[in-house]
Amino acid sequence: MPSTFLGLQTALRGLEVSQAGVDTVSHNVDNANTPGYAREVLDIGEMPSLPLGQDGNTSMVGQGAQVMQIQRIQSDFLNTQYRAQNAALYQANVVQSTLNQVSGILDEPSSSGISAALSQFYQAWDALGSNPSDLSSRTSVIDAAQTLAQVLNQTSNQLSQLQSNLQNSLQTAVSQVNSLLEQIANVSNQIVKSQQMGEQPNDLLDKRDALLNQLSQYTSFQATDTPVTEGGVTYDQFSLSFTDANGNPVTMIDGTKTDFSNANPPSNLVGQLAIASDTGAVSIVPWGSNSATSADPALSGQGGEIQGYLDSIADVQTYQNDLDVFAESLAGGGTYTLSSPWTIPASAVNSPPYRSMYVQTLSGQVRLDQWIQSQKLPESGGTYTIPSGTTIQTTLGAMTVTLLGPLDLTANTVSQYGNMLIQVPDQAQMTLSEYLSKNPGATSLPAGTALQVSGLNQLLTLGFSENGQGQQLFTSSLTSGGEPITAANITVNIGPADLAAGTTSTTDSSGNTVAVSGDGSLATLIGNMANQQMQFPNPLGSSSNETLTGSLSNYWTAAIGQLGLQSQQANNNVNVQTSLVQQISNQQQSVSGVSMDEEMTNLISYQQAYNASAEVISAINAMLTQLMQNV
């Protein structure tokens, strides 16, 4: 026989359940815009019934409702999908933004970029060829050469600046990942503690999901939640691992080492990221050791900003290499003895222009990369340092030119370039010394002779200026240590009076050898070099000496075309990833998002249920009052 007051108790439970319902609605509505929030739904169940127990009547009477649990609605599958695509999106974003900046720095097509400066350079030469004794034409060649050198310097510096910015961003991203790992490890410990007390820590789970979403911005990872039952209590062991370069998972947070002691760092936090001091790679190291070397496993790139930065740094390096090849080919090959140590990027030693450099050793010439290997030079901060005193020969910019006018030979030319290959019209190719021994007393080479020169610089030293024999136009910056010419250090060496415009000489009133004032054949030859074919290292050929033939402007145009293709692809990647993330995010919203309509409907039904329960209480109250009065 149930109690007289059973009805009151039942109605009270109704009030409590409705109250909890309204609270849940309120919680959902409040958190509608909280990142990582998964909506909660009240799981309501019936209370066990009581037998009426009157006169053998076995009917049962219900005792009302109760809150079973407050369920968190989310999908693990969608979360994993979202994080993977989000990582890819952030990687694509970084690469796109880098390539955008590179496009801005290279500034093509425009009237102020390298292409325009090169065109003006050749035009200035052509104008000088038609007016070789005019001082203003000479000055404008020097001006155009300076402009070209400065544009190369600036562009190269801006690319270096971009690279160091990317390096800083990479460092920041690595710190962010470490900080996120620590937070995730701590939250996981709190979750386990709470679950072991039989609680359901929805807020902590939300927080961890939000942290994991944030982590996916930096790199991809695998997260596993394994339910474990101990002493009748079920809790989740949460583990998180990264992938190393060999494709093996490396545990960063170990779920089997749940920490209950509030230790700092918690014992489940086992790994962190660090940048290797020698190669600059992002490596996985035990938690707490903040330094790494290339011996530590490297983080494998499967998306995220970290991979984006690494890709970007490599991309910028290829454009830096392109610029260096351009600068070297413009000036032509030469021999350089380092007067101070020279630092080169380690990632580029197998690429042009470093692939075309040779070191002079006692046993002959050795290619730079092979020399570095044989010397076992240590890598540091992603660079090799070549010691001073090393003699390096560069080979880019070599070409065959055909003389427009006769070339007067001086003692200097004969002694310096005796090995130069020449081909006089209607004769076989031979060296200059061979030619002179066959033609004793020859003082000049006839027009139409083909010369194999190491580049523009050498060609100019064959000609004549107002001051005598011509001088090299380009040199590496005089302030640094005699390094080979690069885009960063290329400068103009000489003034207008040392500029050779012609190939014939005469003797002035004081007996000096000077250029014939109206001979502009050399300048015209250079002015027509916009189409001069030369050999370029194939940027796609790995370590072999594959070459491509083309003009300097062809080479630059191809590099810009390559940039265009890369940027276009990066733009497409970003578009595809944005729409993928958008779709998955919508699906997540569909499952876990708060719907105002739904919440309001729930609010009304809980409100009405509450009112009804209150009505029941008031009815029972009236019944009991009546009963009391009648007694």
């Binding site: 509608a32 815009n33 955008n100 496009s103 290279l106 093509e108 097509p109 292409s115 325009a116 065109s119 003006q120 050749y122 035009q123 052509d126 104008a127 060829g129 038609s130 007016n131 005019d134 427009l404 006018g405 012609g502 014939t504 005469t506 014939v516 004032s517 109206g518 001979d519 502009g520 015209t524 002015g527 027509n528 916009a530 402007s553 630059w556 145009t557 191809a558 810009i560 075309g561 940039l563 265009g564 293709l565 940027s567 276009q568 990066a570 733009n571 944005t578 729409s579 958008q582 995010s585 919508n586 919203q589 569909s590 499952v591 998002g593 708060v594 719907s595 105002m596 309509d597 309001m600």
Partner: protein
Amino acid sequence: MRITQGMLSNQVLYDIENNLQQLSKLETEASTGKRINEPADDPIGVQNVMIYQMETNFDQEYHQNATNAQSQLNFLSSVMTEAQNVVSRARDLAVEGANATETPSDMQALASEVGQLYDQLVTIGNSQYNGQYIFNGANTAAAPYPTQAANMSPDAVSGSLDPAQRVTNSGQVYMDLGDGVTLPITVSGNQFFGNQGATNNAFSVLSQLYDALNSGDHTQVDNLLNSLDSVIENMNTVQANVGSLINRAQMMQTRMTDLSNSVTQQLSNVDDADMAQVLTNLNSISAVEQASLEVGAQALPMSLVNFLKPGA
């Protein structure tokens, strides 16, 4: 599928952003008038643009060179005409002097005029264009003929001061007109005025005429008429050659204008935005953008909340 307010606002944001991106690209195209504003816009096209731009620059340079060559050659030609006039005048005087009726004083007067003509011819031989000697081959900085000789009487010059003994530079200054075409724009003095010691050397012939007139030798003057004719003939030949060079320079100038036009046309085909298309697209995208903003503004604040009265 369950639809939530978050999905609606996400979707509206995503769509508006997409529209804005397209708007911004079209806006750039419309305001620059160019289809290719960065390499990513058309990686193949950008290479063509760079090549065409360089070609246009060179065509302009060559065009300018052709114009310069033309004006220098015109100048050269007019100087040559002047020189021929001088020699023709000397011939007229010689015809007069060959006449046996001329008195010795008449002959003196004729000789004095020939002396002036001689000086004038030396001055012409040292003509300059833009400060450069045009009759000294490639050595444009030095005067081909002794400048002092222009103020001396023909019988006073001798040795190194004698223009007739001068060997001028045999080179040539070339103007680059593109496509491997180079035009000579100077002439060697020896070519035009005759080699040193040759019978058709203008200076030596005038000098001899001066002497013959001075000494009143009618027969010698008569003999020199043939030499004067061969001087004029040589000058004519060289000038005709210059005339053909002027024609070539003109042809190259026209050719460069044509080439430049055609390259500009190609550049425009690759690089210029199709304004009609851009503006049409711009209009339709901005209409879409406006619609999505309006729909967003109407749909986003909509939920059951708007229809529940407080305290109901």
